[in-house]
């Protein structure tokens, strides 16, 4: 009898003889997807904040991702492909992380009571990681869908119009807070979970990692809010011309300017 094909209530008999290898793989995949998303968010924030340098800088980066400097014409679908990959990672990470959520009120109540009684830093951070992760299910989904379906509307004026005239700024404030909290705590937890950078004095390393974690969170929050403020300012100024695309300074009088 081939026991591996025998199934009782969805469980192969072979699984009962040896432990499934999937818990190990899922644990690894959760960490890997989280790491990739966190690194993506760092890059994303630097690219988006190019608006703080100039509108032309932001336009240049946008067009670079659309392949304009490689193909001679802009292909926003390239951005959609990248966004689709991010969505797959995002959904996969959310699915894997759900395994760790409190799954009923009893678990939630026990954890919250424990957290309040213990008053332990990393335990409290875990709660905020779960809380912001839950918020991201909804906040990030809205943004990702917009970027997937409207990649051609990314640019100095296009993004500013979306932020201000299309009333996305309240969502972006919450999204920024949730992403930076979740990502910062997540990266710190990854390091301690896998023993990265533990060195010869793991306690001292952990303390340094936590300081670094807060420094990075504050840095990206300041950068993020400065960037959002810049888009809001441009959005307010550009509101009367809502929908008009940005043309870089050096192309404004050139024939065949990119629209």
């Amino acid at each position: 009898m081939n026991t591996s094909t025998e199934v009782i209530a969805g469980v192969g008999l072979a699984d009962q003889a040896r432990k499934s290898l999937w818990p190990a793989r899922l644990d690894w995949l959760q960490s890997a997807s989280g790491l990739l998303l966190a690194l993506f968010m760092w890059g994303h924030m630097f690219f988006v904040s190019s608006i703080l340098i100039s509108k032309d800088a932001m336009w240049t980066i946008t067009k670079m991702f659309e392949g304009y400097f490689f193909f001679g014409t802009a292909h926003p679908w390239i951005v959609s492909v990248v966004v689709a990959c991010v969505i797959v990672l995002f959904v996969g990470h959310a699915f894997l992380a759900l395994r760790k959520f409190p799954i009923n009120y009893t678990q939630y109540k026990l954890f919250r009571g424990h957290q309040k009684l213990l008053r332990h830093g990393d335990t409290t951070l875990w709660f905020w990681q779960v809380f912001t992760g839950f918020a991201l299910f909804f906040l990030a989904s809205v943004h990702l869908y917009l970027m997937l379906t409207r990649p051609h509307l990314i640019g100095p004026y296009e993004s500013a119009d979306r932020v201000w005239t299309e009333n996305m700024w309240p969502l972006y404030i919450l999204l920024l807070l949730a992403v930076e909290m979740h990502g910062g705590i997540g990266l710190y937890r990854l390091a301690v979970k896998w023993g990265w950078f533990a060195g010869s004095d793991a306690n001292a390393s952990r303390k340094n990692l936590k300081t670094l974690k807060w420094a990075i969170t504050v840095f990206f929050l300041v950068l993020g809010f400065a960037t959002l403020a810049a888009y809001i300012k441009i959005g307010i100024e550009h509101a009367p011309n809502y929908g008009q695309h940005y043309v870089p300074t050096w192309l404004q009088n050139a024939p065949g300017a990119v629209k």
């Binding site: 290898l21 818990p23 335990t123 937890r189 979970k193």
Partner: protein
């Protein structure tokens, strides 16, 4: 120093030191008594020099309330019997000096374990179950050891590593401080993972990583740990639990991707 100054200094040395009046709020409940309901009871006593909670509780029991239940054996942080929540934090009462606490002290039994009464819990029952589940004993290589021959030599560095993890006294503080264990009672806890790590590095144990995977390779084992690390932070023996759990996680994940 002048004679007057010396005399003044002696007078100051001889003056009685004013001790604080300590207030103990202790959770009282006897699950064996059907009429008993959980309540907080307050006791007051004068602090003494070098007073530990062991001394304070003994004084309360002797002079104020002989019905108070709590556990002590060694009074020296070795037996692990006196683990309790001291102001919400799991630790050993015998190693806690009252001078390091505020005058108002709240004591409660360790959560998670079966309550015997008041501050006394049955950690032994759970520890035995954990040990049987993890097979937390040496699985010797080869035939029965010949007791007439010298023991096989062990590298001193490895022996130190084994001894370091063997310092665990199974007081239960790590489990009581663990957010995962509070939510998921089948979680094996840092004490269990530390036990497995101890045998993994012991060259006398014949078990392979695949064998260890069979006992901790799931969400009740190492993959259930969410790296809040309260276990590490509250461990009264300062065991390197964070690094040991990370070590076992890396080893077990490698098994997950091996096949």
């Amino acid at each position: 120093m002048t004679d007057t100054a010396v005399q003044a200094a002696h007078t100051a040395d001889a003056a009685p030191v004013a001790h604080r009046r300590l207030r103990f709020n202790i959770l009282r409940y006897n699950p064996q008594d059907t009429g008993s309901v959980p309540r907080m009871q307050t006791y007051e006593l004068e602090e003494a020099d070098g007073m530990t909670l062991f001394i304070a509780l003994n004084e309360i029991k002797e002079k104020q309330d002989p019905s108070l239940q709590y556990d002590f054996v060694c009074r020296a942080g070795i037996c692990g019997s006196c683990g309790m929540l001291i102001n919400g934090r799991p630790t050993l009462a015998c190693r806690t000096l009252t001078k390091n606490l505020d005058a108002e002290i709240t004591l409660a039994p360790l959560p998670f374990f079966e309550l015997i009464g008041d501050l006394s819990v049955d950690t032994g029952k759970w520890m035995r179950g954990m040990s049987e589940r993890l097979e937390g004993w040496l699985h010797a290589k080869g035939p029965e050891p010949d007791l007439r021959r010298l023991e096989e030599r062990m590298d001193p560095a490895v022996a130190d590593q084994v001894y370091e993890l063997d310092r665990c006294i199974e007081c239960g503080c790590c489990v009581a401080g663990c957010g995962t264990a509070r939510m998921r009672e089948d979680f094996v806890g840092a004490v269990g993972l530390n036990r497995v790590a101890r045998f993994k590095i012991d060259p006398r144990d014949r078990r392979s990583d695949e064998d260890y995977y069979e006992v901790i390779g799931d969400d009740d084992g190492v993959f259930g740990c969410m790296s809040m690390l309260a276990c590490h932070d509250v461990c009264p023996k300062n065991l390197p639990l964070a690094t040991q759990i990370a070590f076992m996680r890396r080893k077990m994940v490698a098994i997950g991707w091996k096949k």
